[in-house]
Amino acid sequence: MTAILTASTPWFWLMVLSSALFAVGAAGVLLKRHSVAALIALNVMFVAVILGLASVAMRGAAMAGQTAATSHTAHVFMVVVVAVAAACTAVGLGLVVALARTKESADVDCVNTLRW
């Protein structure tokens, strides 16, 4: 364990940072009532995913001894995740506007029609 922590492995610290960011974003999504604040926390989670993919790319490249050949899939994944994050935010914004129009509030707890 000590060898891990003292080793010069940025991908390890990047993965730890990604885990912490994901947990913080998840807490925000679960605890916030304002729908725009939940969207902000969701974007924090997406950033965490991108950092995690960057960490995986660096790890795979480092284990292979070079970068280019092994880490391209992870780079493509990162670009796809950025695009999915943008799409998710766009649909979320539309949902927030629709929620504000129908319920006249941004409280996510107002949307409980499908609750069982």
């Binding site: 891990i4 492995t9 885990s19 998840a26 605890l31 304002h34 974007n43 924090v44 670009v79 799409a87």
Partner: protein, 164 residues
């Protein structure tokens, strides 16, 4: 050291973005999260992803600022205290368990991997990413294009409402 500094700033900004009650303050925190993450990605040798993240983050933050400027009324009226307390406890427990699990995965991967240090960055990654996107990963590229178009149509339809 620089990496750890930016990591700390990013984590602090994320906590503030999720902590502030004001949406505008949270958006400033989100901007710092995008900026810190882009700096970190640039430091570890992935400038293309950093640039994409900055552009995407700028568009996201601008859209959220515009939405908050519209003046959507924030949630009013408190929850019943017992329900709110249970919600907070459950949310915090879930996020702590999630963070601990992900950190355990990171530690496991760190224990499995040899001490290889940082990856040696290739001189030009961007043309190779472009070739990969338009070559073996062309299907993913096209699917992303369709997804973005669908999300644009869906968001316009949702925001327009069913008044007609």
């Amino acid at each position: 050291m620089i990496f750890l500094t930016f990591a700390g700033v990013t984590l602090l900004a994320a906590v503030l973005a999720c902590w502030f009650r004001s949406v505008n303050s949270g958006l400033v925190g989100l901007m710092l999260v995008f900026l810190g993450s882009a700096f970190i990605l640039a430091i570890v040798g992935q400038p293309f992803i950093a640039a994409v993240l900055v552009i995407s983050g700028a568009a996201t933050t601008l859209a959220l600022f515009l939405l908050s400027a519209v003046g959507i009324s924030p949630p009013h009226g408190p929850h019943p205290p017992d329900r709110r307390r249970a919600q907070v406890i459950l949310g915090l427990c879930a996020s702590v368990v999630l963070g601990a699990g992900l950190s355990a995965v990171a530690l496991t991967l760190g224990a499995v991997a040899p001490d290889v240090g940082a990856a040696v960055e290739s001189p030009s990654t961007i043309p190779m990413i472009g070739r990969a996107l338009l070559g073996p990963h062309a299907l993913a590229f096209e699917l992303v294009a369709v997804l973005l178009l669908t999300s644009i149509v869906a968001s316009v339809h949702l925001a327009k409402g069913s008044s007609s």
